[in-house]
Symmetry: C2
Amino acid sequence: VTRRVTVKELGEFELIARIERWARSAFPARHRHVALGIGDDAAVLRPPGGHDLVVTTDAAVEGVHFRFDHESAATAGRRAMVANLSDLAAMGARPLAFTLALTLPAETPVERVRGLVRGVLREAAAAGCPLVGGNVARGGEISMSITAHGSVPRGSALRRSAGRARDHLMVTGALGRSALERYRGRVRSVPVPRLAAGQALARMSGAQACIDLSDGLVADAGHLARASGVRAVIDVARVPRPRGFERACRAAGASAEDLLLGGGEDFELLFSVRPGAGGAAALSRRLGVEVTEIGWLEPGAGVGVLGASQNRDVEAGWRHF
Amino acid sequence: VTRRVTVKELGEFELIARIERWARSAFPARHRHVALGIGDDAAVLRPPGGHDLVVTTDAAVEGVHFRFDHESAATAGRRAMVANLSDLAAMGARPLAFTLALTLPAETPVERVRGLVRGVLREAAAAGCPLVGGNVARGGEISMSITAHGSVPRGSALRRSAGRARDHLMVTGALGRSALERYRGRVRSVPVPRLAAGQALARMSGAQACIDLSDGLVADAGHLARASGVRAVIDVARVPRPRGFERACRAAGASAEDLLLGGGEDFELLFSVRPGAGGAAALSRRLGVEVTEIGWLEPGAGVGVLGASQNRDVEAGWRHF
């Protein structure tokens, strides 16, 4: 029984051996793009010929990105992996492999590490993205730094900067669920990284700028607008939300509008398409996920929000802090 | 004057903007293997055609891997980057690009972050390995997780597992300096990652297993031996050391033998060559760095140490903790 064993009692090398074992059970088969996995000075990947390599790093820190009184270790691990996979999705990339750098206080129960790592591995396995290496270090708090690798056909990565005035602004799925759960202090759902949709977008000729919604709709629209040198306009009424969302927000005492526009970690894709590229229905079929048109790009800077109960426009010079 | 400004006062986005600026001054030119650098959801790399991708992750945590009362922020940053570059060297890889995930307490002075990041960038620039992305998160302590990417001609990565009985065991440079500095509590030197030597080794036909010395000579010889399914034998008298090392150790009250065999972070390469592959002098010329023969591989398991003042043999089942 390992329930109360701490990582200090287990020791670094045995902990690494266990993580390897968990990874082997999550990825029983050899992966054709991994020439050498865990256990050497570095991993060796063999991306498909003619592809560019896409690389993203994201960290999740206890008390900042996740709290064990709000969510299980497995959910925290799953969400950390999804954040990285979502960045690959937003580039139109197919996942290849990832590395994991853990810092752990010496007293961390091994069972908790197991929950976190198995959560990470569960989402990685669903995406076909094996663990190929990493690092375990002692630290004052639990943190997970994930670096995910993917590939796209050469030159076809979806950039934030490709938006143009008159493009339609589209979003996948529905927003607000993660923010409402955080507001309530009970995080249970794990967003789906839109990998297939991102890859389909990267193959489309009319698709333009793309970003995943991690900071919140208005904030991320601002990133896209700034990178593209345009202004984004969003119509609140059109922003897709889960069924019964307003009622659930009222019950929780939260503002649905705040959560839809400002809540982060939906991990849906926000993207722009040229005027003739097809409407939401055609895009939904093409991307295999519900797509909603929520606004447009126009000359200017910043983000304009239509139909909000208060002014939520964001000017060009705006910053989070 | 930014001397006393904290990262909280500066704000996340302005901190990221500064890191981008520091990176641009460290890497003024566009890098031909970087299609898209900092600023999107992910970076896009374009490794040379016909090459495998080599990936390594390493973390450096304040109080565990570095201490500001022992070394400057710049030295801590340089050493963190060297640890990663050294892993690429040990695979025979040429550096491509890296990502950096920082966690910082809110009260961290920006000047300290600047020292760390510029230290990281200085070593990265020397290796031609640009910063292409990363993450900044609030945390209870300073930590840097670096993921370094390199490439090797397809199939030619140097693996730990390629050693065979009768191979000669060789080491680059001299050992013990980092351990002595840590012992004295004044860390000033920054090891040189043996990138050119590793790449030259990967091109040599008689070169076999390779590992970089991060944990210490006996520990790392043990990793190599275990991966190769052989026993490593090391002759203490042959282990290369800096000029005046014994005297400096005596003056500090340290055991030279302890530091040579057990001290880590020398970041020299330990590798094996087939019996006919040439002696140390020929290898020194070929690798462009002093090479010393320190022992051999033989059938069996574990590590045997000849000529030590006490038994330092390590048996097959041995672990660090």
